[in-house]
């Protein structure tokens, strides 16, 4: 790997020194190994969670509860990890939606590290996963786990109803988002983003063609 993505921490010193934002080199790191591992472990966890919750609904019955709450705890840890990593080690402004992003709708200017569509997809997943995690942690009170005594009377029936509605909403929203996310990742013109999420890099030419190189 020749260099890091323009606005990642590793490049800020270079930028401050007035050097080229994108140093010479064919391959530019778009996603660090730890972020790629996070993405794929989260994807696997999501499939386990959606499979264990939705397959029984469509008639494929099996003992799904244990696998579901274990995967749910893993997802909770992954979300916490991602929040800490994005707040401490990453640049939040790379994913934040700015008014200038709306210019992309007319084709100009080119986006920073993430396109407007990618930012909106990330925020939609944020809503779904945070809702699922918060309500899922509450629902742990309904199942017997090695570290928690089951207490289904922790909340009133009315409150449980609201928790279930929100958890179901997060599930259905996740189904829609996963379908859209997989479709866009497989489009030929978006192939470089899929490669970046697998191998970590995009070429300098791809960066120049599709992004402004500032990373913001």
């Amino acid at each position: 790997m020749s260099t890091h993505y323009p606005l990642d921490d590793a490049n800020l010193t270079t930028r401050a020194a007035g050097s080229d934002v994108v140093p010479p080199g064919e391959r530019i790191e778009r996603h660090a190994p730890v972020d790629r591992a996070f993405h794929w472990v989260t994807a696997f966890t999501m499939f386990v969670l959606l499979g264990t919750s939705l397959l029984p609904i469509v008639g494929i019955r099996f003992a799904w509860v244990d696998a579901h709450w274990m995967a749910g705890i893993l997802l909770t840890l992954l979300v916490l990890f991602h929040i800490v990593r994005s707040l401490v080690w990453q640049q939040l402004r790379t994913i934040w939606v700015h008014s200038s992003d709306l210019g992309e709708l007319s084709g100009k200017p080119t986006p920073g590290k993430y396109t407007l569509a990618q930012k909106l997809m990330h925020h939609a997943f944020t809503v779904a996963l945070l809702t699922a995690v918060v309500t899922g942690v509450m629902m742990l009170a309904k199942v017997q786990t090695p570290f928690l005594t089951r207490d289904p009377y922790l909340f009133t029936e009315k409150t449980w109803g609201i928790i279930h509605v929100l958890h179901d909403f997060a599930t259905f929203l996740s189904v829609t988002l996963v379908i859209i996310h997989i479709y866009f990742s497989l489009l030929p013109e978006k192939r470089m983003y899929l490669r970046a999420m697998v191998k970590g890099w995009i070429t300098r030419e791809e960066l120049k063609e599709h992004h402004d190189g500032t990373g913001s």
Partner: protein
């Protein structure tokens, strides 16, 4: 189409159990609709460019 799943508590009072499972079809349908709309839009914009 129902939006909620309904049930009764230990005292026989009506409670909401969650969202209706039939909304799963809607979730899948919305995802497929976005794909279809984008696919058509993509095909037209490519045709216009060529």
């Amino acid at each position: 189409m129902d939006i909620f799943r309904h049930g009764h508590d230990a005292w026989g009072q009506h409670v909401i159990d969650g969202l209706s499972w039939s909304l799963l079809d809607v979730a899948v349908g919305v995802g497929l609709a976005v794909i279809a709309i984008h696919f058509i839009f993509r095909a037209f914009s490519r045709k216009r460019r060529n």
